[in-house]
């Protein structure tokens, strides 16, 4: 019996290795096929604005939108933030934020001090919307087309390179289709 106990670390490790192997192939950077080309999940959540007006999925219809999942506890979001500001201010990209599992007060301060690139920010304090979306970790960004359908998902920081290489082509293509609304 005592000798068998010595095998426990090995078994735990093998189990772990199995998970890690699987994790390699559920590549988090590609959207699970279940959500690609499906409408954005239905939600009804408070906004981060002064009046905390309730926001829902109609927010995402009519214009090509980037939906950016962020939180003040996420270091990468700090890195990404200035670039989002530039996208919104200089290139006029429409960005909607999802403030994910965060302290609402801190989130407000963050936007007040660092600038607000978001047309509107949905407060997802419980993380329910995040689960529906399959949020892996902040930051994450979804490209949603005029009909409110998810067309692309990017995990991790958006910078100039990511924008030029993967996001902008999709956004331009979606904007091109159907003309201005």
């Amino acid at each position: 019996m005592k000798r068998l106990k010595l095998f426990i670390p090995l078994l735990v490790f093998l189990l772990l290795a199995g998970f890690l192997y699987q994790a390699l192939y559920q590549n988090p950077r590609t959207l699970p096929s279940a959500l690609l080309n499906k409408p954005f999940p239905v939600f009804s959540l408070p906004g981060l604005g002064e009046n905390q007006k309730t926001l829902d999925a109609s927010l995402l219809k009519g214009e090509v939108t980037l939906v950016n999942v962020w939180a003040t506890w996420c270091p990468s979001c700090h890195v990404e933030h200035p670039f989002l500001l530039r996208l919104a201010q200089q290139q006029g990209v429409r960005i909607v934020g999802i403030n994910y599992k965060d302290d609402t007060q801190q989130a407000k301060q963050w936007l007040a001090k660092l600038g607000n690139p978001y047309q509107a920010t949905v407060v997802d304090a419980s993380g329910d919307l995040g689960i529906e979306l399959g949020v892996y970790g902040a930051p994450e960004t979804y490209v949603v087309d005029r009909q409110g359908v998810i067309r692309y998902k990017h995990i991790g920081v958006i910078d100039e390179r990511v924008w030029q290489e993967s996001l902008q082509p999709i956004v331009s293509q979606l904007q091109g289709k159907g003309g201005p609304s």
Binding site: R86, K113, L114, G127, G134, G156
Partner: protein
């Protein structure tokens, strides 16, 4: 041409590591003295060729050879030379070359400094280190070759090093960290050699201790540098984020800390043998797991390198071989190294066991928190993420427990101690910590805070019990000076390490509760009063750096009465090649406080969003880490690790016969 020489040198090093992994080990089985003696020259050759490769890559960077893909991706002709050199380890391929070079360096060090050890043992250790090198070098050659060319279409100029990495902290952070990670491979190799040889005694523990301690010291400095870098470079004053990659470095550190303590027990008392071996395996395994997490891209992080599942599969296979193999060996052979000595409940052994339990629990909880997103997805298909709140819930309390145990642990006797006597030694330290802690915690203007009180009491408890122990050692000496001189370096090292831990806790607690920050819009001439200081924004001007342009702000800091304190120049930089914006904070450092100013966004009419922090005692966090590392270095310098040479040389004959019989 130079790049091809580098590539070829790596191939040669790989061949030598293959021979090193096989020949000396087989030599110990077949009792071939010549084969056993090959370990050292092979270690020298392996290191030499990797050094050539490393210099070759450095040469490609220094001469702007953009036909080499790695150089083109991570350098630029305008990049200042020191950053061109540090760009060698600025991304995945080159940093892994550094990793391999360091493995070879440690192997060489073992070959040189282990002359006095039994030759069979050294041969086994070198072979196991060679095996690790085989894996690392194969990974480098087959999945991450830094010498790959971009021919015939070489770019005119490179894409520049990520601006986040263009910084002094990043020049030294990775090398220190890797020295630590890879350094744990030595004690791992010692442990595996002991399992293979079936002999694990006090001498084994004594040989392993300095290697473990020095690797641990490197890792301590490496982690502290990383934290310091994040603090000033990310521009918002945070110093620890529980980021997956930070955790990946922190877990081997915690396990290494447990290992240092458990090795002490194994050496002094001959107990915990199989546990010590297990910790040695676990520490190195967690280092490798860290490499896997960073380099395979399974986790999202600011640190993550470019992702490639092929690399992940390769490292995982290597992990399976090394970790799986050693754990299997452990399960089969550990009964052979069971200890027989007894100890009572009230003894230093028990306290160090508790220390190990606390550290292991901390590591396990961090491991769960780090991998939870992966596990949750594999188990239920749902995607979740764990933030700092999870870690902050348990970690401070585990550290408080550890600190309380520490005071008793350094005072209590080996084998057996009487509780009453122990109490009489420690009552003044206990009383002093409670009283002084209470007084100091109400001192601050923010009023009494429970966590600060707990923190101060715990810090004072460590410091006072260390003092108590030193005084007790001096009690029977003729003079204090005589007594202090008689104490050994490793004794001082131990206490210094513990004081460092206390200083670190002090920094963490005070910074978390007494720091103040304001974010506000400031137009030229605007003033802010914070923590008894006046900050005046004087406006910004354009400045030009070698590869960036910046808006540089000027902020005058004065006392409330108007006395000059300092002038700070934070910058908002725009790097041309990567077209990215960087916040360069301006910091006035001090032992009791940092003044930290960063520019946010321009708000028009010369006004800026400005972030002003008053960081209380934040330097103590890194100072504490440095003191800990210094303690480790002192302990390694102790004569006791060299004195044995003569004795060992005399007994080598007998011990070698013992080995070959095992």
């Amino acid at each position: 041409m130079i790049a091809e020489i580098g590539h070829f040198a790596v191939i040669l090093a790989f061949c030598l590591s293959l021979v090193l992994a096989i020949v000396p080990l087989i030599g110990t089985l077949l009792k071939q003295e010549l084969w056993i003696a090959m370990g050292k020259p092979l270690a020298v050759g392996q290191f030499g060729f990797l050094l050539i490769a490393f210099i070759a890559l450095g040469y490609c960077f220094a001469t702007d050879d953009f036909s080499v893909a790695y150089v083109a991706q991570n350098s630029n002709s305008l990049l200042p030379l020191p950053y061109k050199i540090s760009a060698i380890w600025g991304a995945h391929e080159g940093s892994f070359l550094l990793w391999c070079l360091m493995t070879a360096g440690w192997t060489l060090a073992v070959a040189i400094f282990s002359q006095s050890l039994p030759r069979y043992l050294v041969a086994r250790v070198l072979s196991i280190l060679g095996l690790c090198s085989v894996g690392f070098l194969a990974f480098l050659l087959f999945t991450s070759n830094p010498f790959k060319r971009l021919l015939p279409h070489a770019p005119i100029d490179g894409r520049d090093l990520n601006p986040l990495l263009q910084d002094f902290g990043l020049i030294i952070h990775p090398p220190m960290l890797y020295m630590g990670y890879v350094g744990f491979s030595v004690v791992f190799a010692f442990a595996i050699a002991a399992l293979l040889g079936g002999r694990l005694d006090a001498a084994w523990a004594r040989w392993s201790r300095p290697w473990t301690t020095i690797a641990w010291s490197f890792l301590t400095v490496g982690i502290a540098l990383g934290s310091w870098w994040a603090y000033y470079e990310l521009g918002w004053g945070g110093w620890w984020f529980w980021d997956p990659v930070e955790n990946a470095s922190f877990m081997p550190w915690l396990m290494g800390t447990a290992l240092i303590h458990s090795l002490a027990v194994t050496e002094k008392r001959g107990v915990f043998k199989s546990w010590t071996v297990f910790l040695a395996i676990a520490t190195f395994s967690l280092s490798l797991l860290g490499a896997f997490l960073v380099r395979s891209g399974v986790l999202t992080s600011v640190h993550a390198f470019a992702t490639d599942p092929a690399r992940g599969v390769f490292i995982l296979a290597f992990l399976l071989l090394v970790v799986g193999g050693s754990l299997l060996l452990y399960a089969l052979r550990a009964p052979a190294v069971q200890s027989s000595t007894q100890f009572s409940l009230w003894s230093r052994e028990t306290l160090l066991l508790l220390n190990n339990i606390v550290l292991t629990i901390a590591t396990a909880l961090i491991l769960v928190g780090t991998l939870y997103p992966l596990l949750a997805e594999a188990l239920s298909g749902s995607k979740l993420s764990v933030g700092p709140p999870y870690f902050n819930q348990f970690f401070p309390w585990l550290m408080v427990t550890l600190a309380l145990l520490l005071g008793i642990g350094i005072t209590i006797n080996w084998k057996q101690s009487r509780m009453l006597q122990l109490f009489s030694y420690l009552r003044w330290a206990l009383l002093g910590a409670l009283l002084l802690g209470s007084v100091l915690s109400v001192w601050h203007t923010q009023g009494w805070l429970l966590p600060v009180w707990v923190g101060l009491v715990v810090v004072l408890w460590i410091v006072l019990s260390v003092l108590t122990d030193v005084l007790r050692k001096l009690r029977n000496q003729s003079s204090t000076w005589q007594g202090l001189r008689k104490l050994t370096l490793s004794y001082y090292g131990m206490h210094l390490g513990h004081i460092g831990f206390a200083v670190c806790i002090l920094g963490v607690v005070l910074t978390s509760f007494y720091s103040e920050e304001r974010d506000l819009r400031m137009a030229p001439g605007d003033q802010l009063q914070l923590s008894g200081l006046t900050f005046t924004f004087m406006g910004t001007q354009r400045v030009k750096g070698p590869n960036f342009e910046a808006d540089q702000g000027e902020i005058k800091v004065t006392t409330l009465e108007g006395g000059h304190v300092t002038t700070l120049h934070p910058q908002k930089r725009r790097y041309e090649v990567q077209r990215s914006m960087m916040t360069e904070a301006a910091i006035d450092p001090g032992l009791t406080r940092d003044l930290y100013v960063a520019l946010g966004e321009p708000l028009g009419d010369g006004a800026w969003a400005v972030r002003i922090h008053y960081k209380a005692f934040v330097r103590c966090i890194w100072l504490g880490a440095l003191i800990m590392a210094l303690g480790g270095i002192l302990a390694v310098l102790d004569k006791r690790y060299r004195r044995r040479r003569v004795v060992v040389a005399r007994t080598e004959q007998t011990s070698e016969t013992a080995y070959s019989h095992a």
